[in-house]
């Protein structure tokens, strides 16, 4: 068990975005989180690398505890890579330096070592010929692949994907999902918030359905899509399938 979430609650003012959620994830597991918008999927994901503060409960990630004290926040963020819907590439740095920067200043790798890792990862996501390009010169799909390489460069044990294809043109979604599938095949532990039902069906080990901040149902994709037990899950699937 690499992630162990116990009874976490996260509130924004009077709104409870994540409501007493417990969840554990095994090493190498790919978990897809589905749910209507506003159901707290993104917030749950963001709690896992302390981008949102939890109001109660605790999160244990590979032996490090996140609670209100924020003591291990730095170690946890090193263990957990995150990819965002809006890419959030650093626009003033070239593709290569986007991937190099945190390796240099956080991991303290030498310039040569960082560049070696970056080039290897950028080749893996199919962008070996874009090293000197700037984010502004890339398509959405290319940006998102750089963002994945940037997160992987820190050697995380867990990768979080927060609606990473939602801002992409349809013809670019495939290239990003392909990279994610490859990662899953290599045994990366992944939590994926997405609207791509096809991806969930094909890649997920487990699907979690979240509504109003609570886990309504979780099951293997086979059971989840063909045999949902809960009425709210059925309603949701009727709308998206």
């Amino acid at each position: 068990m690499i992630i162990d979430v116990r009874n976490i609650t996260c509130r924004f003012g009077s709104i409870t975005a994540v409501d007493n959620v417990s969840l554990s994830v095994d090493q190498g597991e790919v978990v897809v989180i589905l749910g209507p918008s506003g159901s707290g999927k993104s917030t749950l994901l963001r709690c896992l690398n302390a981008l949102e503060e939890i109001d109660s409960g605790e999160i244990n990630i590979d032996g490090f505890l996140i609670d209100k004290s924020h003591r291990h926040i730095h170690q946890i963020r090193l263990e957990v890579g995150m990819v965002f819907q809006a890419f959030n590439l650093f626009p003033h740095l070239s593709v290569l330096n986007n991937v190099n920067l945190a390796q240099r200043v956080v991991r303290r790798r030498s310039r040569a070592e960082a560049a070696r890792v970056s080039k290897e990862l950028l080749a893996k996501v199919g962008l070996q010929d874009k090293l000197d390009a700037y984010p502004g010169q890339l398509s959405g799909g290319q940006k998102q692949r750089v963002a994945i390489a940037r997160a992987l460069a820190m050697n995380p044990k867990i990768m979080l994907f927060d609606e990473v294809t939602s801002a992409l043109d349809p013809e670019m979604i495939g290239e990003v999902l392909e990279v994610m599938k490859q990662l899953a095949r290599e045994g990366m532990t992944m939590l994926v918030v997405t609207h791509e039902i096809g991806f969930a069906r094909e890649v997920a080990d487990r699907v979690i359905f979240l509504d109003e901040g609570k886990i309504v149902e979780q099951a293997s994709p086979g059971d989840f899509f063909t045999n949902p037990t809960h009425q709210r899950t059925k309603d949701f699937l009727a709308r998206v399938l």
């Binding site: 981008l51 963020r77 809006a86 003033h92 956080v106 820190m154």
Partner: protein
């Protein structure tokens, strides 16, 4: 009006000009020193203004609001006649300090807005990579803020140059002070103040052109020009 009169005027004006141009380096020196101080203070207080530590934030806010709320002339008097007599500051140091801390407050607001203009996603991406707040500021936020800060920051330098004339009041012999002495000595008020104005105008207009050029450079190259190698 005869030609002789006309040439006479030209001759007087150029005599005044050549006299005054010899002290213009004091105006430039005061402005640059004060502006460098203002940039340092502005950066420090601009960052402090958005610190997570409430005490630092309140302190920075107090500095900014106090100094923006007091006339520069009063600050100059305070630094020279007040503080200057206590800790023995000479005219130059007192003048530069007064203009510097005053413009530091304006620069702080410019830096603050430049930092706040950067999308919050940039902070989140940096944090998710394990970068500390300081590393994020240094490597991600400030390099992007510079591009936003350059045009208004450079305009503050022009304002600073003009306001450096106020330190003439404490007897520092920069352009305005020298002009006053010259006008009083030769009873040439019209010619002298005309020339003083023209010299300030030459400097400010050149700077305006420089700012335009810088703005264009920032815009054209924008994200894609600077190579921050890591």
């Amino acid at each position: 009006m005869t030609m002789t009169w006309f040439f006479e005027q030209i001759e007087i004006l150029s005599r005044v000009f050549y006299y005054l141009i010899q002290v213009v380096h004091w105006t430039i020196l005061i402005s640059i020193s004060a502006y460098v101080l203002a940039m340092v203070l502005g950066l420090v207080f601009g960052v402090a203004r958005i610190s997570r530590n409430r005490i630092i934030r309140v302190f920075a806010g107090a500095y900014i609001n106090t100094l923006r709320g007091v006339p520069l002339l009063v600050l100059i008097f305070f630094f020279y006649f007040g503080l200057g007599k206590v800790i023995n500051l000479d005219r130059f140091v007192a003048g530069v300090l007064a203009v510097g801390v005053c413009y530091g407050a304006y620069m702080a607001e410019i830096f603050r807005s430049g930092i706040e203009a950067i999308d919050y996603g940039q902070h989140e991406a940096a944090m998710s990579l394990g970068m500390t707040r300081w590393q994020t500021l240094r490597h991600i936020i400030l390099p992007q803020s510079v591009r936003i800060v350059v045009p208004p920051g450079a305009n503050e330098f022009i304002a600073c140059l003009k306001d450096s004339s106020l330190v003439s009041i404490i007897g520092l012999r920069e352009l305005t002070r020298a002009g006053r002495e010259y006008a009083n000595q030769y009873f040439l008020d019209f010619h002298t103040w005309l020339v003083v104005g023209v010299i300030y105008l030459i400097m400010t207009l050149s700077l305006t052109r420089l700012v335009k050029y810088l703005e264009k450079r920032v815009a054209v190259h924008g994200y894609g020009a600077s190579r921050d190698d890591h």
